[in-house]
């Protein structure tokens, strides 16, 4: 029994990261219809940047995260304006290929600026809590809490604020939204900025709890899309449920079945969902 609970706890932390990545993806995909494949690499850039601020410029962790968030917001802004807006009215394939191209560019920039060895954001949090045989390191707990807070903040933003409602309006019916006076040129900028900010948070979590290295971003974004498909496009609760389910399933499978094919689970889940319930667990028909 202890083992099962331990595995679930193991899975929740990485599940939280998956949720954040999926949230960043679902906002862009659901509202703008763009498969922002570069999200993983950009999120890792955020993590790399935080690492750099802490170790290179001596910032405290919180200051480094704050500055990285601001950089992330600006970066999201630029990505929308320079890369995706020019192909907004062309076929969807073009946006996808732009996304692929962006991914390569960001991976290349990360490699160029931060090197090929892995980096870990130092946090000095090394206590471990032991509750009845189930161990949970302090850092993991904070990551889970932070993810939960971000999810709540995101939900509140989308439900309660004017901008959030405007975003939802654009998602439901773009033309009607224009008629109602919503500025459809600023909405994509806002959406991308939010998405990138969420990505930076995910990057910081991955960088402090695990490590950031070339290629990790791509792996995460594919899992992010798996969560998207599992949870249902455009659904925040779907992303949350999907991310946790994926993280916990991976941990349980690695623990009780086989660790060799752990990564395959995400793909099998994706394919299975598409075969039997393409709208996802919580998506609309």
């Amino acid at each position: 029994m202890v083992e099962v609970i331990q595995q679930i706890i193991n899975g929740v932390a990485i599940g939280g990261v998956y949720v954040l990545i999926a949230l960043g993806l679902t906002t862009v995909f659901g509202i703008l219809g763009i498969a922002h494949f570069a999200h993983g690499s950009i999120s890792m850039f955020g993590g790399y940047l935080t690492f750099f601020f802490v170790t290179g410029w001596g910032f405290t962790l919180l200051l480094a995260i704050l500055v990285s968030l601001i950089v992330g917001l600006i970066l999201g802004f630029l990505v929308e304006l320079l890369a995706y807006r020019p192909v907004r009215n062309a076929s969807h394939i073009n946006a996808f290929i732009v996304a692929l191209g962006l991914t390569m560019m960001v991976e290349g920039l990360n490699l160029e600026f931060f090197g090929h060895e892995q980096i870990v954001i130092p946090t000095n949090l090394s206590r471990v809590f032991n509750i009845g045989g189930v161990t949970i390191p302090e850092l993991r707990l904070y990551v889970i809490l932070a993810a939960a807070l971000l999810i709540i903040a995101m939900t509140l933003f989308v439900e309660k604020t004017k901008t959030g409602q405007a975003i939802r309006a654009v998602a439901e019916n773009r033309d009607a939204a224009i008629l109602m006076g919503v500025n459809v040129n600023t909405i994509p900028l806002v959406v991308f900025s939010i998405s990138t900010a969420l990505g930076v948070c995910a990057g910081v979590m991955v960088g402090s709890l695990f490590a950031i290295a070339p290629g990790i971003g791509e792996g995460l974004v594919v899992k992010g899309f798996a969560v998207l498909i599992l949870g249902g496009l455009g659904s925040i609760p779907g992303a949350v449920v999907g991310g946790l389910v994926l993280g916990i399933t991976e941990a349980l499978a690695a623990g009780f079945i086989s660790s060799a094919y752990k990564d395959v689970i995400a793909f099998v889940v994706m394919i299975g969902v598409l075969l039997f319930r393409p709208q996802g667990l919580m998506g609309k028909e």
């Binding site: 394939i93 732009v98 390569m104 920039l109 594919v222 094919y261 995400a266």
Partner: protein, 318 residues
């Protein structure tokens, strides 16, 4: 008149390719040309599903891997002669393409691309982990050439292999052209332009999409098989997602939805890294930048730009 001009153009190109080995001084570039021709086969396949049908698939390298491993393993386990295993490899690939295509084609656009990418990763992981069959990361060595040093042709000579691959590349290009010009091809283009309308007319679009997907995979499998017998060594490393992205790049840069586009794109993808002998990070950045800029400014690729220039020049003559 236009038909003749196109024909002349292709004939000249063909002559150019035939003469290529004689014109190359340094053997190394012949090696690259062989690789480029192999990529032509793969790119023609990619073009069928991406350029003509409008479904960007990210799994061509995975199918190349299936083709390569099929031919290698059939040779080892069944003692099959090379010509037979190369011929059968695309059909083995077709089988897997059916398995993967069926669920993938239930969704469109981005979803489709992501699912195919997932399949590519599954193929890669299986190739890496299924040691008993594939020998994992160590790969399979000693894959034989289609013939020995004796016999009619000297297979040890790189030139022989070049002509062998050239013939296959030409045949597959002709096959692609035939498909595209047929009723099937027109339906595929219609699907790309307006899939809903195609369905509304009563055509079962999914059959055509599956056909395009499977044929494109078979081209990939053939390319992989030819590669295996050229290099004599294969391992999962080169059949991953990064190489599938190369296939997409080849189609986009060369000219999506044209027959000569993939040929140009394939040579671009193989030769460009040679001229970018910077650190890997620059190559990645440059590649990415090319993709982004090409999609924004040159969505019809080199072929598109060229034909635009040609028609401008023609209209100026009038």
């Amino acid at each position: 008149m236009t038909l003749n001009r196109t024909f002349v153009f292709y004939a000249l190109a063909l002559v150019g390719f035939i003469l290529l080995p004689q014109l190359i001084a340094v053997k190394y570039y012949l090696h690259l040309s062989i690789l480029a021709l192999i990529w032509v086969i793969a790119a023609q396949g990619q073009n069928l599903i991406q350029g003509y049908t409008g479904y960007v698939s990210i799994v061509q390298a995975g199918f190349m891997g299936i083709g390569a491993y099929s031919t290698a393993l059939m040779g080892i386990h069944f003692n099959m002669p090379v010509w037979l295993s190369i011929t059968l490899a695309p059909f083995v690939t077709a089988f897997f393409a059916l398995l993967t295509g069926y669920p993938s084609l239930r969704v469109k656009g981005h979803y489709f691309a992501i699912v195919t990418l997932a399949f590519n990763m599954v193929i890669f992981i299986v190739l890496m982990n299924f040691h008993q069959l594939t020998q994992g990361e160590a790969g399979i060595t000693g894959i034989p050439k289609p013939g020995g040093r004796e016999g009619l042709l000297n297979w040890r000579d790189r030139e022989t292999y070049y002509y062998f691959v050239l013939i296959i590349a030409v045949l597959t290009t002709i096959l692609a052209a035939l498909i595209v010009r047929s009723r099937v091809g027109q339906t595929l283009v219609a699907i790309r332009q307006n899939e809903g309308l195609v369905g509304a007319i009563g055509i079962a679009a999914w059959k055509y999409k599956l056909f395009a997907f499977v044929i494109s995979a078979m081209f990939g499998g053939l390319a992989g098989a030819v590669y295996a017998h050229y290099q004599s060594f294969i391992n999962p490393e080169i059949f991953g997602v990064a190489q599938s992205l190369d296939a997409i790049l080849a189609v986009i840069v060369g000219g999506s939805g044209t027959i000569s586009g993939p040929v140009i794109g394939a040579f671009f993808v193989v030769f460009l890294p040679e001229y970018l002998r910077f650190a890997d990070s620059f190559r990645l950045i440059l590649y990415g930048l090319v993709l982004v800029l090409a999609t924004i400014f040159m969505p019809r690729g080199i072929v598109g730009v060229t034909s635009d220039l040609v028609s401008k020049w023609q209209s100026r003559k009038k």
